[in-house]
C-alpha cells in the first residue's frame, strides 16, 4: 500500500509543479516534462502491475489539467511505462548518457503517438502541428532528457530513504 500511496502523492505533487512552476518558466522551449520523467522512472524501477496503475493515474492527471478533451495521456503513459519495462532488462541502466537517451526517446515516441492520435481523431486537419513538433517540442524533449538523470538520482535517493528497510527485507527474502 505504501509502495502505491507515496508515489501517487508524489505524482500529484509533480503534476502540480508541472502545471505551476515549470509552466511559469519564461522560455517555452526549456520546459521539461517532469511527469514523463517520473513515468519513465516508474518503468525502470516498479513492478508491472502497481507501476502500470501509477502510470495510468499519471496520464489521467495530465489529461485532467490539460486542454486535451479526449484523454490521450491516459493511454500513452501506460504504453510508455510498458515500453520501458520491456527494454529495461536489455540495457545498462546507470549513467547519464543512457538515462538521457532513454527519456529523450520515450518523449519522442510519446510525441509521435500523440501526433498520430491528434491527426487520426480530429474531424478536420489541424494546422501547425508539425512545425510545433520540430520547433517547440523537440527542444523540450531534449531538456526533459537532460534533466532526467538528475531526477532519477533524486527519486532513487527518496526511494531509498522511504522504502529502504522494505527493499532490504525483500532482498533478504
Amino acid at each position: 500500500m505504501k509502495r502505491i500511496a507515496i508515489p501517487l502523492f508524489l505524482g500529484i505533487v509533480i503534476t502540480s509543479l508541472q502545471a505551476t512552476l515549470v509552466m511559469s518558466l519564461p522560455i517555452q522551449r526549456v520546459r521539461p516534462d517532469f511527469i514523463l520523467i517520473f513515468t519513465v522512472y516508474l518503468g525502470l524501477s516498479y513492478p508491472p502491475i502497481s507501476g502500470g496503475i501509477l502510470a495510468f493515474v499519471m496520464g489521467y492527471l495530465t489529461d485532467l489539467f490539460s486542454g486535451n478533451a479526449l484523454g490521450f495521456y491516459t493511454l500513452t503513459r501506460p504504453l510508455l511505462f510498458y515500453a520501458v519495462q520491456i527494454y529495461r532488462s536489455r540495457f545498462y541502466l546507470e549513467g547519464f548518457t543512457f538515462q538521457f537517451f532513454l527519456t529523450f526517446i520515450a518523449a519522442l515516441l510519446e510525441g509521435f503517438l500523440v501526433l498520430f492520435l491528434l491527426v487520426c481523431l480530429s474531424p478536420s486537419p489541424l494546422p501547425n502541428l508539425y512545425p510545433t513538433l520540430f520547433t517547440v517540442l523537440l527542444p523540450q524533449f531534449f531538456v526533459t532528457g537532460l534533466l532526467s538523470p538528475v531526477l532519477f538520482s533524486l527519486f532513487d535517493r527518496g526511494s531509498d530513504f522511504v522504502f529502504g528497510d522494505y527493499d532490504e527485507s525483500l532482498k533478504e527474502r
Binding site: I12, V13, T15, S16, L17, Q18, A19, T20, L21, V22, M23, S24, Q28, R31, D33, I35, P48, I49, G52, I53, F56, G59, Y60, L61, T62, L64, F65, S66, G67, N68, A69, L70, G71, F72, Y73, T74, L75, P78, L79, Y82, V114, L118, S122, L126, P127, N128, L129, T132, V136, L137, Q140
Partner: protein, 303 residues
C-alpha cells in the same frame, strides 16, 4: 473447462492486466467523446482533490518570487555601497510596494470598469495552474460549480476573449484557451463584418477559417466575437490579423490571428455566467406560446 480457464488466467495474469489497463484507457477516451456524466463526475472529484496542491504551489511560487524581487536582489545592491545604499534599499522597497499597490489598483480598477461596461453577469477568478502537457493549451481557475460556473461558459479578460470552460468541479475549473487545437469560436471582422471561425493553432496563435474569398481582409484587421455561438457576447475583441493566406483555388481564404490577450501571462479572468443564445430557450417558448395564442382557435395547450 473452468479449471483450464482459471489456469489460463493465472498464467497470463500480467498480459490480461496490461490489456485491461490499456482497454480501460480507450474506454475512458470513448466515454469522454460521448461526454458521459460518470466521467465528468470522476474528473470533478480528482480536480477537486488535486487543485489545492496547485493553489498552494502557485501561492508558494508567488511568495518566493516576491521575496526575491523585494529582498534578495536588494542584498546585492547593498554590497556595493554602505549606508546610502541601505537607505536606498529601504526606499526602493517602499517604492516597490507602492508601485505594486498602484499596479494592482490600476488592474483592479480596469477590471471593475470593464465589469461595469459589459452588462452581463460575470464571476472573477484567479489562474492557479497551467496545462501540464506541451500539446494542449489550458489554465486552471479557482472558481467552479458552486460559483455558478458551468461547462462551455465563456472566459474573458478586459483585453478580450480567453477561452471556454472545459471541465468543472465544485471549486475549480479548467479553461480551454482559444489557442488550443480543440478550440473554435464564431468571429466577425470588425471592419467588413465578414464572418469566420477562429480556431486555435497552438503557440499563442489562432487561425481564421471559413472566411469567404470575396471578403476583403488585410493584416491589422481586428476580429471580434459574433455572438452567434451563444456563449460569448457580441463584439468582444478576439485578436488581430497578422497574415492573410489566399490560396490559388477554393471558396475560402485563411488568415493567421494573434490573440489580443497575452495568454502566457494570465493572472485574473472573468467567467461569463450568462448565455447569449438569441433567442434563448425560454424566449423561444414564450414566442411559441404567443404565436399559438395569435392563431385562430389556437390555445396554449394546442387543443
Amino acid at each position: 473447462m473452468r479449471i483450464r480457464s482459471l489456469f489460463f488466467l493465472r498464467r497470463h495474469h500480467l498480459l490480461i492486466f496490461i490489456i485491461a489497463l490499456l482497454f480501460s484507457a480507450l474506454v475512458l477516451m470513448s466515454l469522454r467523446v460521448k461526454q458521459r456524466s460518470g466521467v465528468e463526475f470522476f474528473d470533478a472529484l480528482w480536480l477537486e482533490l488535486c487543485s489545492p496542491f496547485q493553489r498552494t504551489a502557485t501561492f508558494v511560487i508567488k511568495t518566493v518570487q516576491g521575496v526575491f524581487h523585494r529582498y534578495v536582489f536588494l542584498v546585492h545592491l547593498e554590497k556595493e555601497t554602505t549606508v546610502l545604499k541601505k537607505r536606498m534599499a529601504e526606499l526602493q522597497e517602499e517604492n516597490h510596494q507602492l508601485k505594486e499597490a498602484a499596479l494592482a489598483n490600476e488592474r483592479l480598477r480596469k477590471l471593475l470598469d470593464f465589469r461595469e461596461k459589459v452588462p452581463t453577469s460575470m464571476v472573477g477568478a484567479e489562474v492557479i495552474g497551467r496545462d501540464p502537457s506541451s500539446w494542449f493549451k489550458s489554465v486552471t481557475i479557482n472558481k467552479g460549480e458552486r460559483d455558478g460556473v458551468r461547462k462551455g461558459m465563456a472566459v474573458i479578460a478586459p483585453e478580450g476573449v480567453i477561452g471556454q470552460i472545459l471541465k468543472v468541479s465544485p471549486h475549480y475549473s479548467v479553461v480551454l484557451l482559444i489557442t488550443d487545437y480543440n478550440s473554435a469560436i464564431d468571429g466577425v471582422i470588425q471592419r467588413t463584418r465578414g464572418k469566420a471561425i477562429v480556431e486555435g493553432r497552438g503557440e499563442n496563435r489562432c487561425q481564421l477559417k471559413y472566411l469567404l474569398r470575396t471578403e476583403e481582409v488585410v493584416a491589422g484587421d481586428v476580429i471580434v466575437t459574433s455572438g452567434l455561438g451563444g456563449n460569448f457576447p457580441k463584439g468582444l475583441m478576439v485578436g488581430e490579423i497578422r497574415k492573410v493566406e489566399k490560396e490559388g483555388h477554393g471558396i475560402f481564404q485563411y488568415a493567421e490571428l494573434v490573440p489580443c490577450v497575452d495568454l502566457t501571462k494570465l493572472e485574473e479572468v472573468f467567467v461569463i455566467t450568462e448565455s447569449f443564445l438569441l433567442p434563448s430557450g425560454e424566449e423561444r417558448e414564450k414566442e411559441k406560446e404567443k404565436k399559438v395564442k395569435r392563431t385562430p382557435g389556437g390555445s396554449p395547450r394546442g387543443k
